[in-house]
């Protein structure tokens, strides 16, 4: 387990080792104390001791106990703090890893699953490491030492105990198996439920308007009930097997009692040893029960860890061997074909977007426009053909450098739950306040921002819902302008804007083109008719391209779209 853990953190788990050493010493002192007590009682029974000797032995055990206290303290402290550090490190690494995974990964995945992997699963790991791990280790040490004492006290009874433990073990194995099987089934339901809860909350307006709130939402009800039922079955059967295990071991006490009494009746001299044997057996099984509990709990956590591991196993984009940096920023597609799954969406697309010019992608909804733009930052790497920037294959560019080349306004606007200022600033962290305001001016949002009660410091709610649709979109444009990257990609960046604001933004875009490569996707042709190159896309194929005038005269599809504009 530790081995596996070691792979997903770069802190190394050996920091836990010190704590383990401490706790071993503690367990040893514990065993010695019991032996002291044994010798004391034996001494008292056989030769009678004077009280000073008893008192000084007691003092010795007090000393041991104090020492044990210190050791426990030291070990818990070091393990817990180390554990929190390890799990935090895993969280950060996981989040960073997610960033490097190709985009496609996120699509097949539900949000609950992902957030659970980062939150709940790492929390479980956290708990495992900080609370369970050290106790488990302590109890394992204790059981081993107690078994040794038992063997020392009475070999005959010891072998009986071993047989009892062996009889009990299959139950433990079943309990574990059940935990693995039902536990992971339950995990799936928990994930589904969580995802749905999240979806329910995020889509609350839609849910409300369709009367799908609470009781009336059959899916929610079904999931909650299913979870309750599955949990009960899982817990019940795990508990059942687990209890059979402890029951068997505890019943061993009755067996030992029988044997030691019979043994005693036959030969009275070993008396004390069998009494102490039973005592130690009781201590041993108390520790054993904890081991069982902890290791079943641990099993849940191993399940959690597997999921975290699975995330880490997701392939990241290969880093190029000899990363190159382009010094021009024209973009060429040569014979690019691509499908999200088995169905090809882009067929043999070739075009060139010149530097310092405006290239427009037009075409019907679903034609593949967004797909083309999403390939440029290598959100997907499974295309065939070649995509180059300034003559350099995008796969040869270090991913971080590649990202620095683009300013992107996505079709779906997403704002962070932060101030408006910080939202724009996220375009370029090191920008000054003046630059931020300047970008806001260019994107025509300065005026409405100033009109807000708290101006730039107004907090935008999650996803930006406290702003109107067009306001959100303009802020995302400001963010892209602030980044000031050499390639600007605008995917339907003005859909939520009225013609007046759109015209203003248009001016800003015209300003941008002067020194950048700009690619625009638009449905409203008047926004792109000035483009040097308009590419008309139909069902994933380029049907024609050229200037507005050229297309008006030569391209039927373009004419049709224009007629309706």
């Amino acid at each position: 387990m530790l081995h596996r853990l070691n792979k997903i953190t770069d802190r190394g788990v050996y920091g836990l080792g010190i704590g383990v050493c401490y706790i071993f010493l503690e367990a040893a002192l514990y065993a010695i104390s019991i032996l002291v007590f044994y010798y004391l009682v034996r001494g008292l029974l056989t030769q009678g001791m004077n009280w000073t000797l008893v008192a000084s032995l007691a003092a010795l055990v007090v000393f041991f106990s104090v020492l044990r206290m210190g050791l426990t303290s030291a070990s818990y402290k070091s393990v817990m703090i180390e554990a929190y550090k390890i799990t935090s490190n895993i969280r950060v690494r996981l989040a960073n890893h997610l960033k490097k995974i190709t985009f496609g990964f996120f699509l097949g995945r539900n949000m609950g699953n992902l957030s659970n992997a980062i939150l709940q699963d790492t929390n479980l790991l956290d708990f495992l490491l900080s609370h369970i791990f050290i106790r488990l280790v302590r109890d394992i040490f204790a059981v081993i030492l107690l078994l040794a004492i038992m063997a020392y006290l009475d070999l005959h009874l010891f072998s009986i105990s071993i047989i009892i433990i062996m009889i009990a073990t299959p139950f433990f194995i079943y309990a574990r198996k059940t935990t693995i099987k039902l536990g992971s089934q339950r995990f799936v339901t928990v994930d589904k439920t969580d995802t749905y809860i999240l979806e329910y909350i995020q889509g609350i307006s839609v849910m409300k308007s369709f009367g799908l709130v609470g009781e009336q939402n059959k899916k929610l009800l079904y999931l909650l009930k299913k979870l309750a039922k599955q949990s009960l079955i899982a817990e019940g059967s795990i508990l059942g097997w687990g209890m059979l295990f402890t029951l068997t071991i505890e019943l061993g006490l009755a067996v030992l009692l029988y044997f030691s009494l019979s043994q005693q009746a036959a030969s009275p001299q070993t008396s004390l040893n069998s009494v102490f044997f039973m005592l130690t057996y009781i201590l041993m099984y108390l520790a054993m029960f904890d081991i069982m509990q902890y290791s079943l709990l641990g099993q849940h956590m191993l399940n959690a860890m597997s999921r975290v591991e699975e995330m880490f196993r997701q392939p990241v984009l290969d880093a190029p061997e000899k990363p190159q940096t382009p010094n021009r920023y024209d973009i060429t597609f040569s014979k690019v074909s691509f499908g999200y799954n088995s169905k090809e969406v882009l067929h043999n697309v070739s075009f060139k977007a010149e530097e310092k010019s405006l290239t427009a992608l037009v075409g019907h909804s679903g034609a593949g426009k967004s797909t083309i733009t999403n390939l440029i930052p290598l959100f997907w790497n499974t295309y065939s053909g070649q995509i180059k920037i300034g003559g350099v294959d995008i796969k040869e560019i270090d991913n971080k450098d590649l990202m620095n080349l683009f300013s992107f306004v996505f079709q779906d606007v997403y704002l962070f739950n932060d101030t408006i200022y910080n939202n724009i600033l996220s375009g370029r962290k090191e920008a000054t306040r003046e630059e931020v305001i300047d970008a806001a001016r260019k994107a025509y949002c300065h005026d409405f921002i100033e009109a807000l009660p708290e101006g730039y410091d107004t907090i935008v709610s999650e996803g930006g819902t406290t702003l109107s649709g067009g306001q959100r979109q303009r802020i995302s444009i400001a963010r892209a302008i602030l980044k000031n990257a050499p390639v600007v990609i605008l995917d339907e960046a003005t859909t939520a804007l009225d013609p007046i604001n759109e015209a203003y933004i248009q001016d800003a875009i015209n300003e941008l083109i002067k020194d950048k490569t700009v690619i625009i996707i638009a449905h409203r042709l008047y926004t792109v008719m000035n483009a040097e190159n308009i590419i008309v896309l139909e069902q994933g194929e380029i049907v024609d391209h050229g200037t507005h005038d050229h297309l008006v005269s030569d391209c039927a599809i373009y004419r049709e779209m224009l007629a309706l504009n």
């Binding site: 426990t72 950060v92 949000m111 980044k483 224009l562």
Partner: protein, 591 residues
């Protein structure tokens, strides 16, 4: 600690409707189990006595073994049933609390969701309520048992020797003191800890949702400050917490280790004083001391969990304390017509006035468009109809009845609304179009899809209507998502249809098809749509022009073109393309 317990139990009782019997049974069985669990130890004591005194008889051997075995089995039966009862209750309660919570949240005004992130609400419904389950299922019976065991043990020991219980009692006292100290420290930290976990939740969900932006803008985890601070703070809080409480925790945990030396001192004292105590009594004391460890540790974990439970409960209650949109006492379930009327409606979000004295009357079925600059209040105007927000001034009525007089159910049932942001649920296209309705015929679904020009692209998908389109509609293009949402609203067949920018992401051809179909299929409905596209607006029978929260002009396209300056300007700007090509006299117009 006690007060906390009582508080927690009060809360538990309040949420455990229908499960109280199970809870009581569980507690009772657990207490019984606790008492029974001590009996085998007494038998061991008797046996020890017999061994040490050499008074073993054949009969005793069998009785001792059988008694031990049967009480052990009995104990297990009791504990198993106790735990099953508690689990049964726990999962049921958990399910109910979640349901109630989510239902309640659904009744709140939308403003609530601008303050609480979805990550936070998810944390409360999933994780905090989970604590409830763990506590009830495991710790409630365990706590009952843990209380029963030490009491039984003291009683038994006392019956053997009046002084020896002190040996157990001193560590026990220390433990109680340590425990209350730990609780106090915990109480001081748990709130901060929970707050921070909530932040971490919000940040994580945000991070995942914003992945494309995170990538493009190179937002590193380290610089995504919310996430990073939350993680750092987590370490800080917990290390601080551990530092403060670990001495007491160790004291608590180790105090029972002192039973043995104390016992030995007692022995020394008794020997010195010449008091004759049976050796087996000492041994009994030792065993009982060991038997106490587990239940007492249990008290620790339980009180730990109890604290989280209470903090979670507090958060659940906080959400529940938000007032849902008020329904008037005598709500009406019917209206004579669906004519909509806004009379002198003013509205503000907090202290920001957004709508000022809006008057709109839509008496008969038809297409009505709301246009205006971004941020002028169109979406707000439309959403007020759903009572997502409460208006401060004026009145909105349907068929002459103030919408506040209508039951919310009735209202929502008769309005079909398409929001500005397309929202796709994780499921198939069919599920997305049906949205909870289950007895919908295939024809109805296809016909709705055809109305919004979505049928063709859906047919082309690998599994047609059964294609899973995933959360966030991540498998569809922008325009396709939008059309799925439209189809959903069409299928609902409500007499009032409100569309907030329904065609912003589709091309002109599709837009034309959609509007033609709506005119054809929805001629008996009141259709209100918000749009920025003049090509869409011309379809309306009447257009309302908004400017900074005011309704400035209204009328059909033809009239507005000359009468409204704002409208005229928007029209002109939107037609640049055509004008431009006209100006060039290109072949296009010749063709």
């Amino acid at each position: 600690m006690l007060r906390e317990n009582i508080e927690a139990i009060k809360w538990l009782i309040s949420v455990s409707k229908g499960n109280r019997l199970f809870l009581l049974a569980s507690i009772f069985l657990a207490i019984l189990g606790g008492i029974v669990s001590v009996i085998p130890l007494i038998v061991i004591y008797e046996a020890t006595d017999a061994i040490l005194n050499g008074t073993i008889q054949g009969e005793f051997i069998v009785t001792a073994a059988v008694t031990t075995a049967s009480f052990i089995v009995l104990k297990y039966l009791l504990l198993f049933s106790a735990t099953m009862c508690s689990h049964r209750a726990a999962f049921d309660i958990q399910c109910n609390v979640r349901k109630d919570l989510l239902e309640h949240v659904g009744g709140l005004p939308l403003g609530f969701f601008s303050q609480k992130s979805s990550g936070l609400l998810r944390k409360i419904t999933s994780e905090d309520v989970e604590n409830l389950e763990i506590y009830i299922a495991h710790h409630l019976p365990d706590t009952a048992l843990s209380m029963a065991v030490p009491i039984t043990i003291f009683a038994i020991l006392f019956s053997h020797n009046a002084l020896l219980p002190i040996v157990l009692f001193i560590p026990f006292l220390i433990m109680v003191v340590a425990l209350s100290k730990i609780s106090k420290i915990r109480k001081e930290h748990v709130q901060e800890y929970f707050d921070n976990t909530e932040n971490m939740n919000s940040a994580t969900i945000e991070y995942i949702k914003a992945i494309p932006i995170i990538k493009i803008f190179n937002v590193t985890v380290e610089s995504f400050s919310k996430f990073n601070t939350a993680i750092k703070k987590q370490i800080e809080i917990t290390s601080e917490w551990i530092k403060l409480s670990s001495p007491f925790y160790v004291l608590f945990k180790s105090s029972l280790d002192f039973v043995l030396p104390l016992l030995m001192f007692a022995m020394a004292l008794f020997i010195r004083g010449g008091v004759n105590v049976n050796m087996s009594t000492y041994i009994l004391c030792f065993i009982l001391g060991a038997a106490m460890i587990k239940p007492i540790n249990q008290i620790y974990t339980s009180s730990n969990l109890l604290c989280s439970l209470m903090e979670g409960a507090r958060r659940v209650e906080q959400v529940m304390d938000n007032k849902p949109i008020a329904e008037s006492a005598h709500t009406r379930e019917s209206v004579e017509s669906f004519a909509i009327k806004y009379e002198n409606v003013s509205f503000s979000y907090g202290d920001k006035t957004v709508l000022d004295d809006i008057n709109i009357a839509l008496d008969k079925p038809g297409l009505y468009a709301l246009v205006g600059e971004s941020g002028s209040g169109k979406t707000t105007t439309a959403q007020l109809l759903l009572r997502f927000w409460e208006i401060e001034e004026g009145e909105i009525s349907i068929g002459g009845v103030d919408i506040r007089e209508l039951s919310l159910d009735f209202l929502l049932k008769h309005i079909s609304f398409v929001f500005q942001d397309p929202f796709i649920i994780d499921g198939t296209i069919r599920e997305n179009i049906c949205m909870g309705q289950n007895d919908v015929s295939d024809e109805a679904i296809v016909s709705a899809a055809k109305t919004v020009a979505a049928h063709d692209f859906i047919e082309q998908l690998p599994q047609g209507y059964d294609t899973i389109i995933g959360a966030e509609g991540s498998r569809l293009s922008g325009g396709e998502k939008q059309r799925v949402c439209l189809a959903r609203a069409i299928l609902k067949k409500a007499p009032i249809l409100v569309l907030d920018e329904p065609t912003s992401q589709v091309d002109a051809t599709i837009e034309r098809n959609i509007f033609d179909a709506i005119k054809r299929d929805c001629s008996d409905k009141i259709v209100i749509f918000i749009t920025h596209r003049m090509t869409a607006a011309v379809n309306a029978d009447k257009i309302f022009v908004f400017d900074s929260g005011k309704l400035v002009d209204s009328g059909p396209h033809g009239t507005l073109l000359s009468a409204s300056e704002k409208y005229g300007r928007m029209w002109e700007l939107a037609n640049r393309a055509n004008n431009w090509s006209l100006g060039k006299g290109s072949k296009f117009h010749a063709a």
